[in-house]
């Protein structure tokens, strides 16, 4: 007889699993956390290297020398912008045409679901201006994009100046094999999203955008540029995109080679690169940067215009020029040369970037961790859920066997009642999740009428109210749930909840490892521990502390702590409310998935554990 079909052996195996379950779970959880923390250390982290042969090892000499021209353009742009208050479309069109590009404009409009307090927008209508530099001797089948997002809070005029000067320089060269699109967007990311949707002829986010008159072929790569002043001390690169998508690592390697070639100071996550990887300092700094990247990737926000390009599988980066209090500064010519070099190398590409990694973590600009090496961390955490579910299944089965033997036929009916008793909590928690997803935006006007708050605040407060209302559920709904065979009822519910959580976290970890890992690290222990017996207040406090909203709150504090700008509680609360509003807004304007995942997926799951805790 086989191991699993022999009842004697099966019972022995069951007893073994039941006995060792708790130590195995603890060990697995600790292994997962330890593996994650070890990711910044040398055997698991490797040096980056250029995988694409076409971008090769040869360097090209940059000849960009239009620094003065760039500054002149920037001054003009800033002046016109101040005069008109919005993007000076006519001036941009004229200038781009004088530089030699084919110029087109595109208008777009969007009514946000509720007013955006951070950017002070509600009804948005703007114009994007873009110029196409056609490849002199090639068919216009492929293109590269250099984009400068202009918003009202960050005018980015230096970047516009540099873009125009680069366009003038590029126009004089004959070696372009791909078209180059120079894009200036209004309302930064909203304009970029409108342009991308019109370019690819899709409508994903409900933006009304006019169709594009001029097109240039499939976009191979894009670079977004943000400069706050004309002298920069360092260039910061942002890679995390919408829903945690990342560009191909080769694009980052390309940027890094030009940083080294031009002697530019390049930073990742706003921090200097750790130099000393042999002692402990380097890996510890790397760990700090790794955690920052994990937090940014988990938030699922597009951290720059590049984040929106990634959805269309266009590899993109955002470069931000930072002007801090360092002595050595670089002018626009240095930044321009780096961009010229990058575009010239991208010009050599024959196919889309596909040779290097698409899923990775970055402890430093020149080090990376590939998915094969970081996935086991999430695997260990989810193993805890699997082990606990197995234990519950065996306990249920034994209890069922124990009950069936004296009773016989009422067994199936008892089981049937058990299943029926599960449906109610599942439906109710899912309904709460749906309410959390739909009601805040839908009911904002009603709330604003009855309470003296603005619409944005109404949305956030409704969100929090529904979330808290869910905590009161078990006390109100347990009358609906039948109480036959109380022990088996909560165990069955917990089993279903564990499997549900494991499935969700597994799926999330595949596409956005950081989000999956973060949620698993907080929710898995308390989910495993939840049971109606024992100290209820302690378990309740733990469960509330590890609920998705509390994880968001805590990660905000962690993020600011890692950036060495710690928050006080009041500041943290304000930031938390702003983050909630941004999360809902981004879901509606860009299709970010964090809000629906948390409200429709993880919050109902968490409520099931809450139900288990308060099972009577």
């Amino acid at each position: 007889m086989g191991l699993l079909s022999d009842p004697v052996r099966r019972r022995a195996l069951a007893r073994l699993v039941l006995r060792l379950n708790a130590p195995l779970c603890v060990l697995s959880y600790l292994a997962g956390i330890a593996w994650f923390l070890a990711l910044a250390f040398p055997p698991l982290t490797q040096r980056t290297y250029m995988s694409e042969n076409a971008m090769g090892s040869t360097m090209v000499e940059e000849q960009f020398a239009g620094g003065d021209r760039a500054r002149a353009f920037a001054r003009d742009f800033a002046a016109h912008r101040r005069k008109s208050g919005a993007l000076p479309v006519a001036w941009l069109e004229r200038t781009m045409r004088s530089v030699g590009l084919e110029v087109y404009t595109q208008s777009f409009s969007r009514k946000l679901p509720f007013p955006d307090e951070t950017h002070e927008r509600y009804m948005v209508s703007g114009t994007n201006v873009y110029g196409i530099l056609r490849a002199p001797r090639a068919a216009s089948t492929e293109s590269l994009v250099l984009t400068v997002p202009c918003g009202s809070d960050s005018t980015n005029s230096q970047a516009v100046g540099l873009l125009l000067a680069l366009a003038a320089h590029f126009r004089g060269q004959i070696y372009w094999a791909k078209d180059i699109i120079f894009l200036v967007t209004e309302y930064d990311l909203l304009g970029t999203e409108a342009w991308l949707e019109a370019y690819h002829d899709v409508n994903v986010t409900g933006m009304q955008s006019s169709p594009l008159q001029g097109r240039a072929g499939a976009i191979q790569a894009a670079v977004a540029l943000e400069l706050s002043s004309d002298m920069v001390t360092s260039l910061d690169v942002a890679v995390e995109g919408l829903n945690g998508q990342l560009p191909n690592l080769d694009l980052l390697n390309l940027f890094q080679t030009f940083c080294q070639k031009g002697g530019l100071l390049c930073t990742l996550q706003g921090k200097l690169q750790p130099q000393d990887w042999t002692s402990l300092d380097g890996p510890l700094q790397g760990l700090q940067m790794l955690l920052l990247m994990v937090l940014r990737q988990a938030s699922g926000r597009p951290h720059g215009s590049h984040g929106l390009f990634l959805r269309y599988r266009v590899e993109a980066l955002t470069l931000r020029g930072i002007n801090s209090f360092r002595q050595y500064k670089y002018d626009l010519v240095a930044v321009g040369k780096a961009l010229e070099g990058m575009f010239r190398k991208l010009n050599h590409l024959l196919e889309r970037l596909h040779q290097s990694f698409f899923l990775y973590l970055l402890p430093a600009l020149s080090r990376f961790v590939s998915i094969g090496l970081y996935m086991p961390a999430a695997g260990f955490l989810l193993l805890v859920l699997g082990l606990k579910a197995l234990e519950l299944w065996m306990q249920l089965h034994e209890a069922g066997v124990g009950l069936e033997e004296p009773r016989g036929s009422p067994g199936p009916s008892a089981q049937g009642v058990g299943l029926a008793s599960l449906v109610a909590p599942l439906l109710i928690s899912q309904a709460m999740g749906l309410a959390l997803y739909v009601l805040p935006v839908l009911g904002q006007h009603v709330a604003a009428q009855h309470f003296p708050v603005a619409e944005a605040e109404a949305v956030v407060l409704t969100l929090l109210a529904i979330y808290a209302a869910g905590l009161a559920l078990p006390h109100n709904t347990h009358r609906v749930v039948s109480t036959q065979a109380p022990d088996r009822g909560w165990m069955a519910l917990k089993l279903v909840a564990l499997i549900y959580l494991a499935l969700q976290l597994g799926c999330i970890a595949l596409t956005n490892f950081s989000l999956g890992f973060l949620l698993a690290a907080t929710m898995v222990p308390t989910a495993a521990l939840a049971k109606p017996h024992g100290s209820r207040t302690l378990y309740a406090a733990l469960l509330v502390l590890t609920s998705p909203a509390a994880t968001l709150f805590g990660s905000l504090f962690l993020w600011r702590e890692l950036q060495e700008a710690p928050l006080s509680l009041a500041e943290g609360w304000q930031l938390f409310l702003a983050a909630l509003a941004q999360g809902v807004l981004e879901h509606h304007t860009y299709g970010a998935l964090l809000f629906p995942l948390l409200s429709l997926g993880l919050y109902p799951c968490w409520l099931l554990f809450w139900n288990v805790l308060f099972w009577k």
Binding site: A54, T58, M59, W176, H348
Partner: protein, 372 residues
């Protein structure tokens, strides 16, 4: 009077004897020269130059082939006797910042594309099949003349190949490969069809020496840029164009060939010394065991140029019975006589022998029974 007459007669006899002896010596000198005249045995030269890789970052392979093309043309082989196969067009590539040029040196001193280039097989026409058809002559009748290798048994052929290769193969255009065995068999076909007198095979790829390991036909000399297990390296990158311009081995071969003119007496041993390991990083190799002449007697221009041998003489040359040419023609006469006899074909399937063998193996005691 009689004495002066006698003296003059003696003097004239003496001078006649002297002249006669000089004449004899001169005649033997002329015969030596005549021997030298026919020593290489070839009357025409061909070149097959192949570049097998495409894409902009393989600029250097096209530059390699074009530099050998340039040397070969300069030394006298006309376009009608050169089959040039280039897998991609670098001169007119949209990424080329200097259109219509292919440079071999980073200071852009030498434009190997030149003013008149005749590319016979271009772009996607460079395939293994086309290459083998060119070599063996099995070409469809519609092929234009410029795409054929119309060599005969008195042709010296130079075959130069470059691209990406490995141990025993050469990659054609990212989609197929030619192995060293196929190449050796193609050369054997050429030998059997009397399509060459002598062949010089030069290959500049990684692990190039593996490509000539399998040759088994006579009169082949081979050179390669690297041994098995070594990579051939490229020479210099050009920051203005953005690619590596040439491979090291061919760069130094080009430098060497630039010194050669049609009258040079430089021989193959000098070519073997080109690009030592200190310059090339890889170890160039060569193979001469199949070649009948001594490499030091083989001129560079025997393969790289098309040198018309012209000797002006006012003497009569008596081609002796025991000279090489008479021997070979004598042998031909003998062969003609042999051919007069009726031809006999070998048995295709020696049934008797097979059955005999089988019988013997299975019934060793019954060896007396067979009576076929």
């Amino acid at each position: 009077m009689a004495v002066s007459h006698c003296f003059s007669r003696a003097a004239s006899a003496f001078t006649a004897v002297l002249l006669f002896s000089f004449g004899c010596v001169a005649a033997s000198h002329i015969e030596d020269q005549a021997e030298q005249f026919f020593r290489s045995g070839h009357t025409n030269n061909w070149a097959v130059l192949v570049c097998t890789s495409r894409f902009w970052f393989n600029y250097r392979h096209v530059a390699n082939t074009l530099s050998v093309y340039r040397s070969v043309k300069r030394l006298g082989i006309p376009d009608s006797h050169i089959v040039l196969m280039l897998a991609d067009d670098m001169a007119c590539n949209p990424r080329n910042p200097k259109p219509a040029t292919v440079f071999s040196h980073k200071n852009m001193e030498l434009n190997v594309y030149g003013d008149d280039v005749e590319v016979d097989y271009r772009s996607y026409e460079v395939t293994v099949e086309n290459f083998l058809r060119v070599l063996t002559g099995r070409i469809p009748p519609s092929t234009p003349r410029s795409k054929r290798l119309l060599s005969d048994d008195r042709s010296n052929i130079l075959i130069y190949m470059t691209g990406h290769g490995g141990n025993g193969f050469l990659k054609f255009q990212d989609s197929e490969e030619i192995t060293n065995i196929e190449l050796a068999d193609a050369f054997e076909q050429m030998w059997q069809k009397r399509r060459y007198n002598e062949l010089l095979f030069i290959i500049d790829t990684c692990q190039g020496a593996s490509m000539y390991e399998r040759f088994y036909s006579p009169n082949i000399m081979a050179l390669a840029s690297s041994q098995v297990g070594e990579d051939s390296l490229s020479h210099q990158p050009d920051p203005a164009i953005g690619v590596h311009l040439m491979d090291r081995y061919t760069f130094y071969v080009l430098e060497f060939l630039e010194e050669i003119n049609p009258a040079s007496q430089t021989n193959m041993n000098d070519l073997f010394q080109v690009c030592p390991k200190s310059l090339c990083v890889s170890t160039p190799g060569h193979r001469t065991d199949l070649f009948q002449r001594d490499p030091k007697n083989v001129l560079i221009t025997d393969f790289f140029g098309s040198v018309r041998k012209v000797e002006i003489t006012t003497e009569t040359i008596n081609l002796q019975q025991d000279s090489e040419i008479m021997e070979s023609s004598y042998k031909e006469d003998q062969m003609d006589e042999e051919l007069m006899e009726p031809l006999k074909y070998a048995e295709q399937l020696p049934v008797a022998q097979i059955i005999h063998q089988h019988f013997e193996d299975s019934f060793p005691l019954c060896s007396a029974l067979h009576s076929f």
